[in-house]
Symmetry: C2
Subunit: 313 residues, 2 copies
């Protein structure tokens, strides 16, 4: 039995919940965040963030994470490490299971984000954000007039490869079997092949991302049991996204077909008093700016919800 009762529990301590916590705690709404990985989330492990508005020369991801954390802590947010395995309702309260222990709150914000799927080859983790990327909108502009390798054969890989052609001198698209994208996208892709801006390599399995003096220089792959090397300045991997919502399976919180959390325009989930924002939300843009903006908006909805609770209890 645990008597701890919080105004708000936020699950995850990435940009979205840190922004939300700046808002709630500044208004004296007591708030605790539970993070099982890195404070600052995906932003914190990004080498350079070039498009978070307010930093004209860009900012290191770790630095931005520190700034967001410092601001939330300044207003009184508590951040604890802890693994949340379930959320359930108990009357008007929410019970969040943290490291196997029940903790209660009047309202909950889920901002656990999503993880890009990895291909799991040597070099991939080592050069994450410094030559190996998963978000074309975020990092494509760093590759103006450079060569790129793009890995993947689904809709999003084709879409992002097309998008990246606006920056690059040439793209090698490595596809394990065949391309599984819509007709319209494949026709569009063919245009860039015809222009010589992009080459599709079928039946290619990536084996290693190779760097020289700390800089990615090539991708080692296998085709028909033969080894091939693709020279490149960087690698973009598009093999899907996994929202961090496993712990919600079986709960009353509705997910969409991708496992992302459905919310209304006020960021409330299908369970009253449980909100979601950032990359874990269905419709998310996977951009720090949007995650932060949604966090602020969710905080205002949480305040409104808590005020309503006060009226009626």
């Amino acid at each position: 039995m645990n008597d701890e009762l919080h105004d708000v529990i936020m699950v995850g301590a990435g940009p979205s919940s840190l922004a939300a916590a700046i808002y709630t705690t500044r208004e004296d709404i007591e708030t605790i965040l539970y993070e099982k990985g890195v404070i600052g989330g995906m932003a914190a492990i990004t080498d350079k963030v070039d498009n978070y508005p307010g930093f004209p020369d860009g900012v290191e991801g770790m630095k931005l994470a520190d700034l967001l954390q410092a601001q939330a802590v300044r207003f009184g947010a508590k951040i604890d490490f802890g693994d949340v395995s379930a959320i359930r309702e108990e009357g008007k309260l929410k019970v969040v299971v943290v490291d196997g222990k029940d903790v209660r709150a009047r309202a909950v914000l889920i901002a656990t984000g999503s993880d890009y799927n990895k291909i799991g080859v040597p070099g991939e983790a080592e050069y994450y954000g410094r030559g190996v990327h998963y978000c074309a909108t975020c990092d494509g502009a760093f590759y103006r007039d450079k060569r790129l390798v793009v890995i993947g054969g689904g809709n999003s890989a084709v879409q992002e490869a097309i998008f990246l052609t606006r920056f690059t001198s040439h793209i090698d698209l490595l596809v394990r079997s065949t391309i599984k994208a819509s007709e319209i996208l494949q026709r569009e892709l063919q245009k860039y092949v015809d222009q010589g801006k992009l080459t599709i390599h079928y039946g290619v399995t990536t084996q290693e991302i190779v760097a020289t003096d700390g800089k990615v220089t090539s991708v080692l792959a296998e085709k028909d049991s033969k080894s091939i090397s693709y020279e490149t300045d960087g690698v973009f991997v598009f093999v899907g996204l996994s929202p961090n919502t496993e712990f919600l399976r079986g709960s009353a919180i509705e997910l969409d077909e991708h496992g992302l959390i459905k919310t209304d325009t006020r960021h409330e989930t299908s369970v009253k008093g449980v909100f979601a924002s950032g990359d874990v939300r269905s419709g998310a843009t996977l951009q720090i700016a949007s995650a932060v903006g949604e966090g602020a908006a969710a905080a205002l909805s949480i305040r409104e919800y808590l005020d309503g609770l006060n009226h009626h209890i």
Copy 2:
């Protein structure tokens, strides 16, 4: 006849469109912003912004506006002064009337914001953001354990006065005639009256906001033809909001009952290729963080829209 054709015209150069322009121009989508007032919008004329995520010690509004502008300009955004008086469609293009001249674009973002209504008394403009405020969420926390005067008698005035009680030692609520708020809000308000945290003054017309040595110290008002002075540390005015959408009257772009622009979840208005974000959007939170996040999200929708145009033209 003007042959100028832009990829994107953004109407207004506040935080939301500056954020959007960071995104579009970074992706080589040619973008011009037209501003008729101050670059940076309402943010630029705010004394201190305490809750824009990324600035743990707060940031001067003017400084934040400069940073956003510098970042957009760094990636190639053009910002011009100009008064937009109408938007209309011409085939797949949009015609924006700037200072009476037609300028064409493939897509348009409307981010003209909203203005807080003023009461128009001496001292109001002079101490804007430094003792005179219009947003409780933004500036309420600066008045911890201080006295406040709140002016207004509508739903939002009552709601915001209740919200401000969490910070203040005491509030004088000045109401010109009677309170026009919902029953439930009035009952809630009465609780704070009963607790001695708030005093309602009916039939009071504000005449001047008085400062001593540059600091707001009192509000001069009239009741029953007699002069009264209310000592205070600051003033919050809640007499409505005017969205800057006058120029859209008669256009095909749908507004809600408050004159705010209706959008779908992708920030597109009822006219294909015309988008809206920030304080002018129906459902806006009136927070810089959200305006910026929406700008980024709108930019991604604009990119998608322009890519679609390329496919089909």
